[in-house]
Amino acid sequence: MVNTAVNIGGIPLKNPVIAASGTFGYGLEFSPLLDLNELGGIVVKGLSLNPYPGNPPPRIMETTGGMLNSIGLQNIGVDAFIKEKLPLLRNYDVAIFVNIFGHTIEEYVRIARRLSETEGIAGLEVNISCPNIKKGGMSFGKEPKQAGLLTKRIRKATSLPLMIKLTPQASDIADVAKRVEGEGADSISLVNTFLGMAIDVDTAAPLLSTITGGLSGPAIKPIALRMVWEVAQKVSIPVVGLGGIASYRDALEFMIAGAQAVQVGTANFINPTMCREIIHGIKEYLKAKHIDDIKQLIGSLNLSGHETTSD
């Protein structure tokens, strides 16, 4: 038997595969297709203090190897989640991460407090990186100072493990990572979507109601992987890697680059049983390579004979 268990900033996972926020609903939607108990973890759709309508349609557009979205964090609100969804989620043996966002630091703090009072939540993933809302969201994630301040305030408000989710739009993502680590984050997840755009040439109008939206999917994997590698070298708290993961080999790339766990997002749309297939693939790989503990893989990138660009 190979050991696939990892620990993400105080949260033990039976395996390192987590369903990413916004691509797995509140988890329950997938139960007809997939045994949720098989997953390492689930990050639920981003929650705000109050129910949130989201952006007008059209909200999505396919691009080559990826998709743009401007959902705008439509959600049922933290209270409805606690009342309607959480009780059902408690029936599963899987780590539940609640993805939270606010328009002000105060909002983030209040959601964090609210969730701290409840049972059945493994940790919070703080979305300081959503490109699809005007106030708050990404604005907190672009500059180290803002990100650090927000982390500090939420840290004070809750004893739940904190995973801070970073945006690739940050001018220097490693700086942001170091700062939130310094302010008490237990782990870091990256990346959120890349700000992109698509135009309908027949109408000369943007294909998303919000003009720009977040790019996700296999298309962004090489950039996301590079960022995870850079950040993992700079911080000592666990890094959770995501961005375009759509096979067990993709997942392994992120872990070899230094990620302690991975999240699977858009790939859940392409193939609703993707998470299970990735978990299975990782186990088979470990067996074939006679690696008995996945931790031996983490950060095992072999750079002999390589150098970052010759001159």
């Binding site: 129910p51 309508p53 349609p57 439509q74």
Partner: protein
């Protein structure tokens, strides 16, 4: 299959009857194989899929998501209405698709033998009670596809008065006419180029019909519509004027098809959901694709 396929057009048999007895099956992701994929009207293809469909009960109005190939381009599955039918050769699923862009173009190039992943059945289909006395079917373009299944169900439940209104750009794009006529259902055609039937929009044809017939504003008469959004909006407003209940099947870009991505949202009238903010939008893939026309913010 070439020759044999004419037979595949025959009206549903026991299948559809079963549908109303058996509860619709819950969605699953299945491997299917293309057994037929040919152009049956200009830019309109018929694809027949074989797979584990014996317990696959799909209601008219419901849909499936097809993965186009095994790569990531195109990335997202595409939604299509689907009919199940049986022949001596087995149980098949058939879809009719219009080539409108990248994905459907790639589909049109696919050859029999190719394998496609299929997720379904998905969404909420058309609803009607056996007390229904008259059904007014209004279809624009490919909108007739999901309605075709409904028509068979209506016939089988013994609903006598069925009126079909179909519109298309041109006569060559009017689908299933012979099939409907074979069933002695009155079909009112409209074409934008006047090549067949009324020269104009199907909604105008529908309006004239309503003007000349008196329907009681009760649940014994129901409109069912599918087609381009403007055509649906017009049909909805006509049904409001004549106080007829109306079910519309909407389309929207989709990523997941199962209600998690929130990408397929359509604006809903607030009051219909006691003004809860998060209910301002409905998911075509879950609350729909068939909606009560009154729910939609047109």
């Amino acid at each position: 299959m070439g020759k044999k396929d004419a037979s595949l057009f025959m009206p549903f048999t026991t299948t559809t009857l079963k549908k109303k007895k058996i509860a619709e099956s819950s969605m699953k992701d299945s491997k299917t194989k293309i057994v037929f994929n040919q152009e049956v009207a200009p830019a309109c293809f018929r694809m027949v899929l074989s797979g584990p469909f014996d317990n696959f009960i799909i209601k008219s109005g419901q849909f499936i998501m097809l993965r186009l190939g095994m790569g990531y381009d195109p990335l997202l599955r595409r939604p299509f209405a689907a009919h199940r039918f049986k022949t001596t050769e087995g149980t098949f699923l058939e879809i009719f698709y219009h080539v409108v862009g990248y994905g459907t173009h790639i589909m049109s190039q696919m050859l029999p033998g190719a394998e496609l992943a299929l997720l379904g059945p998905l969404g909420k289909g058309f609803e009607f009670s056996d007390t229904l006395s008259a059904a007014l079917i209004v279809a624009g373009g490919m909108g007739i596809v999901p309605l075709r299944g409904l028509i068979y169900s209506l016939v089988e439940s013994g609903i006598k008065n069925i009126q079909i209104f179909v519109g298309a750009k041109s006569a060559s794009q009017l689908l299933f006419l012979t099939e409907f006529r074979r069933m002695d259902i009155p079909v009112h055609c409209a074409t934008e180029d006047g090549s067949s039937g009324y020269n104009g929009l199907v909604t105008e044809l529908f309006r004239r019909f309503l003007d000349n017939h008196a329907f009681k504003a009760d649940n014994h008469t129901m409109c069912f519509a599918c087609g381009p959004r403007p055509m649906l909006a017009k049909t909805a407003s006509l049904s409001f004027n004549y106080q007829l209940p109306c079910q519309v099947s909407l389309e929207s870009r989709m990523a997941c098809g199962i209600g998690v991505c929130l990408g397929c949202a359509v604006k809903l009238k607030r009051q219909t959901h006691h003004d809860q903010d998060q209910k301002k939008y409905g998911r075509v893939c879950l609350e729909g694709p068939v909606f009560d026309a009154k729910e939609i913010e047109w």
